[in-house]
């Protein structure tokens, strides 16, 4: 589904990613962990198509297409969804209006009929309920005045509406209490299917008790320095990162 090859990225002349390689198959869930500043969020942003990064080398192929050539909205319509680490407040635009526009743009692209207002509302109410949010939230401006937990749940709501092929969660667990974490995890688990893949970026192993990964990768100093299964996350929780990621300077020679 997605192949990242030797991806090298810099921002303002500073090298952030120094040759990332990653293959993602349909149905799989990859956790990407790593210390602060290791490039996790940069990788997420690049996948979603955010401006401001210089791709120095490498490629990303998504369903056989060059992902880096696609505009962000095309990526979204082709099935990529990024749950933002810091969801953006958009005063003046209601969640309802925003999601209907987004969903219909996506549906149109996928050759489906646009949803009528009534069908959209029924669907939205059905999707929002398990996330423990009131339907009234749909009438509020996008993320405006939302608590941290509400913002993250809203991201999961949007994801469940747009039904992506590749869901990327950028530190969606950060700052959540255990109840909210469970709600978010349930939302993600409900979406897991054989043709849908996830990349879960997190700083904490805790999330992976609730969303069980097939693979765990450790990003250090701009490269994937180790890959393993879920036991790697537990080991990281116990031992920290220092044994595989040097505190400063160069990445460990031992890659996986």
């Amino acid at each position: 589904m997605l192949q990242i090859r030797n991806l090298r990225v810099s921002v303002d002349g500073q090298k952030i990613l120094r040759g990332v390689n990653l293959d993602i198959q349909p149905g799989s869930l990859h956790a990407i962990m790593g210390p602060n500043g290791s490039g996790k969020s940069t990788l997420a942003s690049i996948l979603a198509g955010r401006d401001g990064y210089e791709i120095e080398a490498g490629s990303i192929t998504y369903h056989g297409q060059d992902l880096l050539e696609m505009d962000p909205e095309i990526r979204a319509r082709e099935g990529i969804f990024l749950a933002f680490q810091y969801p953006v407040e958009v005063p003046g635009v209601t969640t309802m209006y925003f999601m209907r526009e987004a969903l219909n743009a996506v549906r149109k692209h996928r050759g489906k009929e646009e949803l009528s207002a009534g069908d959209f509302l029924r669907l939205a109410r059905q999707k929002i309920k398990p996330l423990g949010m009131e339907a009234g939230m749909l009438k509020r401006a996008v993320n405006e005045g939302f608590s941290g937990g509400e913002k993250k749940r809203s991201e999961i709501f949007q994801m469940s509406m747009l039904e992506p092929t590749l869901g990327i969660l950028d530190e969606t667990d950060s700052g959540l209490d255990i109840d909210a974490l469970q709600v978010v995890a349930d939302g993600v688990n409900a979406l897991r299917s054989p043709d849908r893949a996830f990349v879960v970026i997190t700083h904490y192993q805790r999330l992976l008790n609730h969303i069980v990964p097939d693979y765990v990768h450790v990003l250090g100093d701009g490269r994937i320095v180790r890959s393993g299964d879920k036991t790697l996350a537990l080991e990281l929780e116990r031992r920290g990162y220092s044994w595989i990621v040097p505190a400063s300077g160069q990445a460990a020679a031992a890659g996986a």
Binding site: D51, D71, A76, V88, V90, G92, E101, A102
Partner: protein, 426 residues
């Protein structure tokens, strides 16, 4: 600067014609016209040398010949009557036509009708609220207005339906005039629309008197041709416990200058002066507001928002006067601008003169561009760059538009706004 010789003689000639045409007018009105004419001749059309017109030079209107060259508003179609089926639309031709207007407690009259029906009310208000002495363009209108729309709301009347005064297609002439008098404890909503094709200069004056406990919600929308000059004055005078809400929607004209003000003359008054200007290409739009807090315990709110594209310039100048006796004044002013182009420019300036010591006056101004992070967020959900831009532009203007109290008008403004800045190219 006084009017030049050529234009002065032209104006005098026209004024003499007008006096002939309006020979039947009462002497108080003729005196007011003559005094206004004198004031105009001594002041002339304002140019950039006048501090109040620093950014809006109207000298193109000063030459008599140029003035004659500017046509009456042209014959383009009137925008559809979007105020809604319930609204009572009134069209103003040169001679003023009233189209099927009937609403209990609300009278819309021509100048002639009003002079017959309410001579003393007219003498009390017409030309005394918007005072021409210091304002050349108000003076010019006062000297020359051929007709007037006079709206009288009987005391205690709560008018359900808005009154729509339409000035388009040569209606109301070059100097449209409106007088609104809201009787004690009455309530009324009034929408004025100004449109027209071709190149012309329209110089409109509206006066509003809100008597004790009256409530007037006024909306003035201007979508004239981008070859037109629009100058407009809106002046309110408020008795105790009254409310005037003004919304200025400035969308058309090559150059638009609006002077909007009200005097809070009794305790417990409130006013909201709000507006939205949305311009593109090389349009120029200027709002000067002036709120005169003359009595204690009054509140004023101002929210003016601007969306500027292309090579446009926007000007906002907000004066707030708080007189010595106006204790417990609460005045809030905000001007926010969204620039959609690198070449658009805004000059914004609050001007507070406070002589009382127990007051709260706040003001703020912002000039910004579309939020790139928000645009990316919307696009990352599948929304096109063009749609994201439209959504954010509309979102910027939405809280100002919310202050338009007549729903169909609000929706009309919204659709105009979205159509104006829509870009298909992304």
């Amino acid at each position: 600067m006084p009017a030049g010789i050529a234009s002065a003689s032209l104006y005098l000639e026209r004024f003499s014609d007008l006096l002939d045409r309006t020979a039947g007018e009462p002497s108080w009105l003729r005196q007011r016209r003559e005094r206004a004419m004198e004031r105009f001749l001594s002041m002339g059309v304002p140019t950039a040398r006048n501090e109040e017109y620093k950014y809006t030079d109207l000298s193109a209107l000063a030459g008599g010949e140029r003035l004659l060259g500017l046509q009456q508003p042209g014959l383009a179609a009137i925008p559809p009557a979007y105020v809604g089926d319930d609204a009572k639309a009134v069209w103003f031709g040169e001679g003023l036509a009233v189209a099927g207007f009937a609403q209990a407690g609300v009278r819309v009259m021509s100048l002639r009708e009003a002079l017959l029906a309410e001579p003393s009310l007219l003498e009390e208000h017409l030309g005394t609220i918007a005072v021409p002495d210091q304002h050349a363009l108000c003076a010019l209108n006062t000297a020359f207005f051929p007709e007037a729309a006079v709206v009288m709301v009987e005391p205690g009347t709560l008018a359900k339906e808005p009154v729509h005064l339409m000035f388009g297609d040569g209606m109301g002439g070059r100097h449209p005039r409106v007088l609104i008098v809201a009787g004690r404890s009455s309530s009324v909503r009034i929408v004025e629309t100004y449109s027209g094709a071709g190149s012309f200069w329209r110089n409109a004056v509206t006066e509003i008197r809100a008597t004790a406990n009256a409530r007037v919600e006024h909306c003035r929308a201007q979508f004239e041709s981008t070859n037109a000059y629009h100058t407009g004055v809106l002046q309110g005078l408020q008795d105790r416990d009254s409310y005037i809400g003004s919304f200025s929607f400035s969308f058309g004209a090559k150059v638009a200058r609006n002077d909007i003000g009200t005097r809070l003359d009794g305790t417990g008054c409130e006013c909201s002066l709000d507006g939205l200007y949305a311009v593109r290409d090389s349009q120029h739009v200027d709002h000067h507001t002036a709120i005169d807090h003359a009595a204690a315990h009054c509140n004023s709110h101002q929210l003016y928002k601007g969306v500027l594209d292309g090579n446009t310039r926007g000007v906002f100048n907000g004066k707030i006067f708080v007189r010595r006796d106006a204790q417990k004044t609460d005045a809030v002013q905000s001007n926010k601008n969204l620039l959609l182009s690198d070449k658009a420019e805004v000059n914004t300036k609050p001007q507070l003169e406070i002589d009382a010591n127990d007051v709260r006056c706040t003001h703020g101004a912002t000039i910004g561009q579309l939020d790139a992070t928000a645009a990316f967020y919307l696009r990352s959900r599948g929304i096109s760059a063009a749609d994201a831009r439209n959504m954010l532009t509309y979102a910027f203007a939405a809280d100002a538009l919310d202050r338009v109290r007549v729903k169909p008008v609000r929706h009309h403004f919204k659709s105009l706004l979205l159509a104006r800045f829509a870009r298909e190219d992304g």
